[in-house]
Symmetry: C2
Subunit: 191 residues, 2 copies
DNA sequence: AAATATTTTTTGAATGATCATTTAAGTTTT
DNA sequence: AAAACTTAAATGATCATTCAAAAAATATTT
């Protein structure tokens, strides 16, 4: 029973601490000691659980990606039309617990650093491909073949851009407004 | 005459080397030695010219911002209509010598790190404000008051998102296609 | 239950490596 | 000669990671 408990608890604690610490100090310069302090643990324990700093970063990103994936899958249930599913993708990306300055900031940090880490790079590629295929599947039912790719590009770039702006924002962001705006952009793109 | 020559030459060389080195290694981890090697100089000489690593980074970003600003001002000459000027803003951002994987990658690095450096942060804010005001000036002549801000948001996010995608790309990107796509997005947004 | 053994978890301190910056001594240019 | 430029080497600081030993939890035996 208790076999896996502590390990799971620590994993979660350390990943949450990583998110906070990366947001606070920046991915490139955050130290193990800062993360450990945030979690109320020691730097050595991070290596005990994750093997290395890079291992921790990968686990943290994996955790965030999973959340996004789950949000998208949940959003799909109950949708009937392609348009509704496009809305759902947007809604998942701008969900209340994902579209915050802190989360967007983390994403941005990972994006910027993914090209220099094979492990992060791989995760990033997988996520991007999934979003892409979702968009393509729905858009191809709504537009002519030659319109699909430009429309996907427009939607996906818009989505990324909004996150990027949120990451730069010094005030807090409003998920509800973001979702409404995103719906309007979907409407624009599919005519 | 020659008073400033060498200094100017070294400044340029070191900034170019910084761009290459940051793209190659990442902003967070690139070392003075790597930049110096790229420029065929010594790490000590960078401090002689720029005072510190952060000074070099700021100068590099300032250099890139100036290029963008010049491209935008040049693009404006000869434009007659608001729509043409919106096209011009897009064309400047996706100009042949600015919209490359390498350049976009550098931008991305700076974006991600700006929040943690007051000097970078300041530059970033200035640039963003300029782009914003350009968009607003033109859009307010084409749309009703309540449509302006959503449209600006859509265009600016799209622009940022395209750069972000380019930064992640492993192939090279095509500026001409990007400009054409951007024009289409402008058309969509202003009806 | 108590005592003991075993495994898992935790961390302080050492290790070793990296790196920005400074300094002092040269070299080149003016 | 003076000023500007250049860099090798020294400095000092930071940090991820390792290690050994302790503490805590769990399992086993009495």
């Amino acid at each position: 029973m208790g076999r896996k408990r502590i390990r799971d608890i620590r994993n979660k604690e350390l990943i949450e601490a990583t998110i906070v610490a990366v947001h606070r100090h920046g991915y490139g310069v955050v130290t193990m000691a800062e993360i450990a302090q945030e979690a109320g643990a020691s730097a050595a324990s991070i290596n005990y659980y994750f093997g290395s700093k890079e291992g921790l970063m990968e686990a943290t990103m994996r955790h965030l990606l999973t959340k996004l994936k789950v949000a998208m899958i949940q959003g799909y249930t109950g949708t009937k039309t392609p348009k509704e599913r496009l809305y759902a993708v947007m809604d998942a990306n701008f969900a209340d617990d994902l579209y915050t300055v802190e989360r967007c900031s983390i994403w941005m940090q990972f994006w910027a650093n993914a090209p220099y880490s094979p492990r992060l790079s791989r995760l990033h590629r997988i996520n991007r491909a999934r979003v892409r295929s979702h968009f393509l599947a729905e858009l191809s039912q709504l537009l002519t073949a030659d319109q699909v790719e430009p429309a996907r590009q427009a939607l996906q770039c818009y989505m990324d851009g909004v996150w990027l702006q949120a990451a730069q924002s010094d005030q807090s962001v409003d998920p509800k407004t973001a979702r409404a705006a995103a719906h309007q952009v979907v409407d624009l793109v599919i005519r």
